[in-house]
């Protein structure tokens, strides 16, 4: 057990059991990599002492970028000199996390040489997280990455690496092209992604349907959730097949679970009152061979999700109830062509008036949703609220009243 490339003591325990062992991973890396080797050592110390041994590092980065690197230093460098510096790089993943092995192998070769040989696939935001290297290696790593066609993702007060669900690439429910939007938005806002200009971080996530397989409503300042406007497509034969062949208790597991109770099943036909369907996906999920979303598709844009710091966690809330994401675009509807302007208006306002470290959701809370909408030039819509206000503390806008009267 004196061999430091192998875990021992407490960590050794975590090599047992059926689930893949991260300890074994670090060990495997440690066979050829000194940083991984010392990582085991420091981690063992943490396990023994129940204490984390990393120090915050806020200054390192690659030239010209304000994000993409997280600085990290050991607080016991004398014991584990090879992880004295242990910065990570966040590498912008390809949309929906599809890879070819050749690209992956090249990243591996580079990282074996210049880093710890250990990585996260993927980080919570979606990046490939290259776990641990030294300050002098940052620039070379970056240069090799770009030569492989990869770039860094976000960290700090920037646009963070957008991510998306597998969507049209392998899912029948994608209501718009999540990969395209993730990619195009990433490309459009390269400057915002790499150079901090915001009060704080800002995240985009693209989910193809209300199942929200990228958890956008919980994690993205701006969540794009696919939805549809017209009627659910029903194949009644297939519904009966579910009932008869698959023994699905349609009444119990479908009709009864519908949040708006807008369905009925008489043992033969499934009836949906589509005007009252909340587009929750449940019936489609369960009877997926029989039901399909409508054909008039687009997405709901929601704003403001974040973790608890500072003002408490928020979920995103409805900003644009329905936006058409692909041509042909109608006349009087929000379409993806409005998107750049919408985003600019939001960033402009929040950029100007947001406090340091204030996420856009907190900013809206502070200035009020109504004022926010005014300022970015969107009309209030009942879809934006769970319910109208219950308190009478209304800042009546008298100017507006008078204007309206004049209008009449």
């Amino acid at each position: 057990m004196a061999d430091k490339t192998k875990a021992s003591g407490k960590l050794d325990e975590l090599k047992k059991g059926p689930y893949p062992s991260f300890v074994k991973e670090i060990e495997a890396a440690a066979e050829t990599n000194k940083m991984a080797h010392d990582l085991i050592g420091q981690l063992e110390l943490s396990y023994d002492e129940k204490l984390c041994h990393w120090k915050h590092g806020g200054i390192v980065g690659v030239m010209g970028y304000g994000g993409g690197v997280i600085g990290r230093y050991s607080d016991v460098p004398e014991k584990f000199p090879n992880v004295s510096h242990f910065h990570t790089l966040r590498v912008n993943q390809p949309a929906a996390w599809f890879y070819k092995t050749d690209a992956l192998r090249k990243i591996c070769d580079m990282w074996e040489k210049r880093g710890s040989s250990v990585l996260n696939v993927h980080g919570s935001t979606g990046d490939i997280v290259l776990l641990g290297t030294t300050t002098p290696q940052l620039e070379p790593v970056f240069n090799e990455l770009t030569s492989l066609g990869f770039d860094l993702g976000g960290s700090g007060s920037v646009l963070r690496t957008p991510s998306c669900c597998v969507g049209p690439a392998r899912c029948e429910w994608a209501m718009y092209d999540t990969l395209k939007y993730a990619y195009e938005m990433t490309m459009r806002y390269q400057d915002e992604l790499h150079r901090p200009y915001f009060p704080y971080k800002f995240k985009f996530k693209f989910a193809g349907c209300p199942n929200d397989c990228v958890a956008s409503v919980a994690r993205a300042d701006m969540s794009f959730i696919g939805t549809w406007k017209d009627d659910i497509q029903i194949d009644q034969d297939k519904v009966r097949w579910y009932a008869e062949e698959r023994k699905v208790d349609i009444e119990d597991v479908v009709v009864e679970r519908c949040p708006t109770k807008c369905m009925a099943w008489d043992g033969k036909e499934l009836f949906i009152d589509n005007r009252n369907c909340a587009r929750c996906m449940h019936c489609i999920n369960v009877l997926h061979l029989a039901l399909k979303p409508g054909k008039d598709r687009g997405c709901t844009i929601m704003l403001g999700a974040k973790a608890p710091i500072l003002e408490g966690a928020q979920l995103s809330s409805v900003l644009v109830p329905f936006m058409r994401m692909a041509p042909p675009y109608g006349e009087d509807e929000a379409t993806a062509e409005d998107l750049p302007e919408l985003i600019d208006n939001i960033w402009e306002l929040w950029g100007e008036e947001g406090k340091n470290r204030e996420r856009v959701g907190e900013f809206i809370q502070r200035i009020g949703m109504g004022n926010f909408l005014d300022a970015i030039g969107l009309e209030p819509q009942a879809e934006m609220v769970a319910h109208p206000r219950t308190n009478p503390y209304v800042f009546y806008d008298l100017g507006k009243d008078e204007e309206e009267e004049e209008d009449e």
Partner: protein, 360 residues
């Protein structure tokens, strides 16, 4: 630094996804019409054209080594024309158009120690964060607890016999990088000691106004120490969020004795049936007990069990609890309802029980 500004590439963005899409995906992009789960971990998607793609999904520890990725690549090269993807919950997926490749892939991946599963009504991978492996802020380890919990729950990864999906997530501190706040079960590292202040380093490293502004409860106040500006913490007002530490590295909260883990339940993200909702506090505190955090494992296991035994089909953890009511949940889970469970932050009043709808 070896900066060569002239030739240096920047702002190139990620590779275009089309570079990496399997041909069958390109051919049927946006034209998929249905899917089926053939067995746990194995999906088949069928396109309008009749084309099919098989996906074999396997667990990874997320923290992965270069050698392991190469091994995955070997499998993908052998069976998938070099195509491979990862999911939004850090499972790896091998993609093939050949049905006959499914079993060999499964066997090859499992031989590497990566169980195939995580589809349908199962427990899939635990979304988690850095912990002691990389973060300075961690109140607990991430990978270790995840390993211990998943070892225990593995049968629910490789089977699909649960009432609904069950999403577990872990974050090692209140920053909640794992976005655990909307999980069926969330494991959250917590500090329980106010920051200790190193006034000397603070003077050099930290900006006082930002540090003061960082505290959600206004517990951090500017003071002068030995003639130098610094800060103090009103301990009674501190709820250990560590946000001051994020802004000012000279105010660590880590404490081997008092740090630990809390467990939260009933959150969800999808719009299916109930609206997305936050997780709620179930177990306020369990001490760190590495390497296997047995108390955490058994608490999670217990939650999974009572839900499995009692929920109706497709009822997520939170939907089930809403139906039976929180008092019953605490009773069934054998958890003492304590002061800590009662919200006392900004919107606390909206969480009080304002009806006589009670069950006895």
């Amino acid at each position: 630094m070896t900066a060569e500004p002239a030739e240096r590439l920047t702002d190139i963005g990620p590779p275009h996804y089309e570079r990496f899409l399997p041909p069958v995906v390109k051919a049927n992009y946006g034209k998929w019409v249905s899917h089926e789960i053939l067995q746990p971990g194995v999906l088949v998607h069928t396109a309008e054209s009749g084309d099919k793609i098989y996906s074999i999904r396997a667990a990874t520890a997320r923290l992965i080594s270069v050698p392991k990725i190469r091994q995955f690549c070997d499998i993908a090269d052998k069976y998938c024309d070099g195509h491979i993807r990862w999911t939004s919950r850090n499972n790896v997926e091998f993609l093939t158009t050949k049905k006959e490749n499914v079993e060999p892939i499964k066997q090859a991946v499992e031989a590497l120690g990566h169980p195939v599963g995580g589809t349908g009504n199962s427990i899939t991978n635990i979304v988690h964060t850095q912990g002691w492996v990389h973060c300075h802020s961690a109140a607990t380890d991430a990978s270790g607890i995840v390993k211990a919990v998943m070892d225990e729950l593995m049968d629910e990864f490789t089977n699909m016999r649960l009432p609904g999906k069950l999403r577990i997530a872990l974050a090692c501190c209140l920053n909640m990088c794992g976005a655990v706040h909307c999980s069926d079960i969330a494991i959250l590292g917590i500090h329980r000691r106010p920051p200790t202040i190193d006034h000397d380093r603070l003077r050099k490293m930290c900006e006082i106004p930002n540090t003061v502004a960082a505290c959600p409860t206004a517990a951090v106040r500017p003071v002068t120490i030995d003639g130098n500006p610094s800060v103090e913490v009103i301990e009674e007002q501190c709820m250990f969020c560590a946000n001051c530490f994020t802004v000012c590295p000279s105010m660590p909260l880590n404490d081997p004795e008092y740090d630990g883990v809390s467990i939260w339940v009933g959150g969800k993200v999808s719009n299916a049936r109930h609206e997305p909702t936050f997780s709620k506090l179930a177990v306020p505190y369990i001490p760190n007990n590495p390497p296997r955090w047995p108390e955490v494992v058994s608490a999670v296991k217990n939650l999974v069990t009572i839900w499995t035994d009692n929920a109706r089909p497709y009822e997520r953890m939170g939907e089930w609890i809403e139906r039976i009511g929180w008092p019953r949940f605490f009773e069934m889970a054998g958890i003492d309802f304590q002061k800590e469970h009662i919200d006392d932050f900004k919107h606390a009043v909206t969480t009080y029980k304002t009806s006589a709808h009670l069950r006895f």
